[in-house]
């Protein structure tokens, strides 16, 4: 065979002969029967397919979509601040929240002492005090929004009612996030039967209309002792129906994030799955969920109002905006417009403001994503 000895010479290497041989082969291939060459001519397409199937390191360049991700929050806030409609919405929400908090003094009472947390009282009257004025009175200087059938001051009731409505929206959405985000992230990250199990539950809940499901859940929850009837029943009912949307949304995001190289890198370094989900997957998948959650506060407030209107949830007579609308229904027939207009306006204003803020957050977090698409998907 060969008698070559490995060289100890150093210097440039140049291979001679291979190219000539390759050239000769090309010539002979060309001249030979085309039927013989069929095997090789089919190569390029196959080879590219083979290559894409094999090489997982061709990492997604989509990671660069986050242009300056480190200072993401600062950048988002700067973009948000430039958005006038969003800032208007935020201002409306802040004003409504401040009004609701300052409407009546907030006190914490124990057996011996009563601590006043908030001494201000913007509302002129106690919202539950009857006959502070004549019943069914139209708006006047003394009662700017008029009075209801029991002579309660509507203005005070709308102000204090903000406490229920705003907090129901925020708390219900927060609870739904606490359930939906972990479940969706786990489903997306692990896949397999875990994914199947969680997502089939989501599908089942999705099959019911949002409001109908909430209506169905309220009577189930009411006998539960710690919840009782009222505020927490509504909140839990809305959270139970609300988490599915977040779970589905974040699962979709996680499916793409978990393919990113930094997740593989974290796994290669032996970081446990729990840490990977918490630190690497969820923070990079959460943006659309934040947008969705903000927009959903509006939807949840509307649903809470609808539940109140239907007489579910909060006890009748409480100053929740939806419940006030329900009570005003009969007086509408008598022509007493002020009983429904003011709580209705309050709901309208709050939901509008929330939607403006939600769109603003969407634009700030993901300038190239169309928030309306997401919303359509959620409905």
């Amino acid at each position: 065979m060969t008698d070559r000895q490995p060289t100890t010479d150093r210097g440039r290497i140049r291979i001679v002969g291979f190219d000539d041989a390759a050239e000769q082969k090309r010539d002979s291939d060309a001249s030979s029967d085309t039927a013989d060459a069929a095997g090789t001519t089919a190569d390029p397409s196959i080879a590219s397919r083979g290559a894409t199937g094999i090489d997982p390191t061709t990492a997604s360049t989509s990671a660069s979509a986050f242009a300056q991700p480190g200072r993401r929050l600062e950048n988002a806030w700067r973009r948000f601040r430039r958005n006038r409609s969003a800032m208007t919405g935020l201002a409306v929400i802040i004003v409504m929240a401040v009004l609701a908090v300052l409407a009546r003094p907030i006190t914490v009472s124990t057996a011996e002492v009563t601590i006043t947390l908030q001494p201000f009282s913007l509302a002129p009257d106690d919202p539950t005090a009857m006959f502070v004025g004549p019943p069914n009175a139209p708006p006047s200087l003394a009662h700017p929004f008029g009075t209801d059938w029991a002579g309660r001051d509507q203005f005070s009731r709308v102000l204090v009612g903000g406490r229920y409505t705003l907090s129901i929206g925020l708390v219900a959405v927060a609870l739904a996030l606490c359930v939906g985000v972990p479940l969706g992230a786990i489903a997306g990250y692990f896949g397999g039967w875990i994914d199947e199990a969680i997502m089939r539950v989501v599908d089942v809940l999705y099959a019911f209309p949002f409001l109908v499901l909430a209506i169905a859940i309220v009577p189930i929850l009411e006998p539960v002792p710690i919840l009782g009837s009222g505020y927490w029943t509504v909140v839990v009912a809305l959270a139970v129906t609300g988490w599915v949307g977040y779970a589905r949304l974040i699962r979709g995001e996680v499916l793409s994030v978990r393919e990113r190289e930094y997740v593989t890198a974290a796994r290669a370094l032996g970081v446990p799955d729990r840490t990977i989900i918490q630190r690497h997957v969820v923070p990079n998948a959460i943006a659309p969920v934040v947008v969705q959650a903000t927009l959903n506060v509006g939807t949840v407030v509307l649903t809470a109002a609808a539940l109140g209107f239907l007489g579910l949830g909060l006890e009748p007579g409480s100053a929740e905006w939806g419940a006030m609308l329900a009570q005003g229904r009969s007086s509408l027939l008598r022509g007493d417009w002020h009983m429904t207009v003011f709580p209705g306006l309050a709901i309208f204003l709050f939901v509008l403001a929330i939607n403006l803020v939600g769109d603003g957050i969407n634009d700030a977090l993901e300038p190239d994503r169309d928030g309306r698409d997401d919303r359509r998907r959620m409905r």
Binding site: M1, T2, D3, R4, P6, T7, D9, G11, R12, I13, R14, I15, V16, G17, F18, D19, A21, A22, Q24, K25, R26, G39, T40, D43, P44, I46, A47, S48, R49, G50, A51, G53, I54, D55, P56, T57, A59, S60, T61, S64, F66, Q68, P69, G70, R71, R72, R260, E261, Y262, T264, A265, A266, R267, A268, L269, G270, T275, R279, P283, N284
Partner: protein
């Protein structure tokens, strides 16, 4: 006993078009402290083979056969927790795309420190100090300030250095570098290679370097494995491979390396493209592209043999073996190429010729 032994590893990917055998029965070993290159063109299964070592194949990929023994323990048999303990601590990986390896929402330092905290029982400030020392060790200036930088605030070269720092966080016994210099410009590449060479020289860490760049291999490696279409076709100490290549594929790769001062008009290429691994060629997988192929190449599959004696691979990693029928005496025309070594000083050619009749 070698530190890492890969024995008859088979990796398959399941695609819509069929089963891709990306790695088809490769065996190699890495001993403590040495640097081994794994070269081949895109789609040869280099990355699949390397990721399989840490069981990092995602989704469609699966290890269907073989053994990977690290310090005598079969990695494929380890429980999830044992495997996690090895990942990063004993065997670490340097990925190709440094920009994608770091999570964009945390600082570089935090991510390196995370690895240390995962494997070592340290306080946060200890992890921080150690991270800063690591950043310093890989040659990034002003390490304390860089600790608090986000990944996008580093340049490509610094990112790659930071990735190496992250891989080195727990002083691994084996460092698998998956194309660490691809996508960097040449001067930065040189810096990274210097860093790796210094690591290889000063630490006990064994390096498995996966690349398609023969120049990188020549600079860094002690031994080289040439992979083609999922198989290892040649294994040699680094000098032997360059000055005395035995497999026609290796010869083609060397011939296709561009050189400064080359007087040829066209860069020689290996004809054809990498084969489809769903339905690989029969016999020798290189035969459809091999200029020296004969009829028997399409039907007989060569195994790794000693090119001088023609005897099968005896398992000693230092021996030069190649998988070509030439060395078992089955080719009639032989291989017709020569290796010219030119001095850098003048163009005085000393030629040696591969034996075999010209066509």
């Amino acid at each position: 006993m070698a530190l890492l032994e890969v024995d008859d590893l088979v990796v398959q990917y399941y695609t819509d078009d069929g089963v891709v055998r990306a790695v088809d029965g490769i065996s190699y070993e890495i001993r403590a402290g040495e640097t081994v290159g794994l070269v081949g063109e895109s789609g040869a299964g280099k990355s699949a083979a390397s990721r399989a070592v840490l069981r990092l194949l995602d989704g469609a990929g699966e290890i269907v056969g073989g053994e990977i023994r690290f310090r005598g323990r079969d990695i494929l048999e380890l429980s999830v927790d044992d495997l996690r303990a090895i990942r990063g601590d004993e065997i670490a990986m340097v990925f190709q795309d440094a920009g994608a390896v770091f999570n964009p929402v945390y600082t570089v330092g935090e991510q390196i420190a995370e690895t240390i905290r995962t494997h070592k029982d340290v306080t946060d400030s200890e992890a921080r100090d150690r991270t800063i020392a690591l950043i310093d060790r890989v040659g990034i200036p002003n390490p304390a300030a860089r600790y608090a930088d986000y990944p996008h605030e580093l340049s490509g070269g610094m990112q790659q250095r930071a990735v190496i720092a992250m891989a080195l966080a727990c002083d691994p016994a084996v460092l698998i570098c998956d194309e660490p210099t691809t996508g960097l410009d040449v001067t930065v590449q040189a810096g990274i290679l210097e860093l790796l060479a210094e690591l290889a020289a000063t630490s006990e860490t064994a390096i498995q370097l996966v690349t398609h760049d023969l120049g990188v291999v020549a600079e860094l490696c002690d031994r080289v494995l040439v992979q083609y279409a999922g198989e290892i076709v040649e294994r040699a100490p680094v000098d032997d491979l360059y000055y005395d290549p035995k497999h026609p594929y290796t010869v083609g790769l060397l011939a296709a390396t561009p050189q400064l001062g080359d007087d040829r008009e066209r860069l020689p290429t290996i004809p054809g493209t990498a084969p489809d691994l769903i339905d690989p060629p029969t016999g020798c997988r290189f035969h459809p592209r091999c200029p020296y192929a004969e009829d028997c190449c399409a039907s007989r599959r060569p195994s790794l043999v000693d090119p001088v004696s023609g005897r099968p691979d005896n398992g000693d990693p230092e021996t030069h073996v190649a998988a070509c029928l030439e060395y078992t005496g089955d080719l009639e025309a032989g291989l017709d190429y020569e290796v010219q070594v030119r001095d850098a000083a003048d163009s005085d050619c000393r030629e040696r010729k591969q034996q075999g009749e010209p066509r």
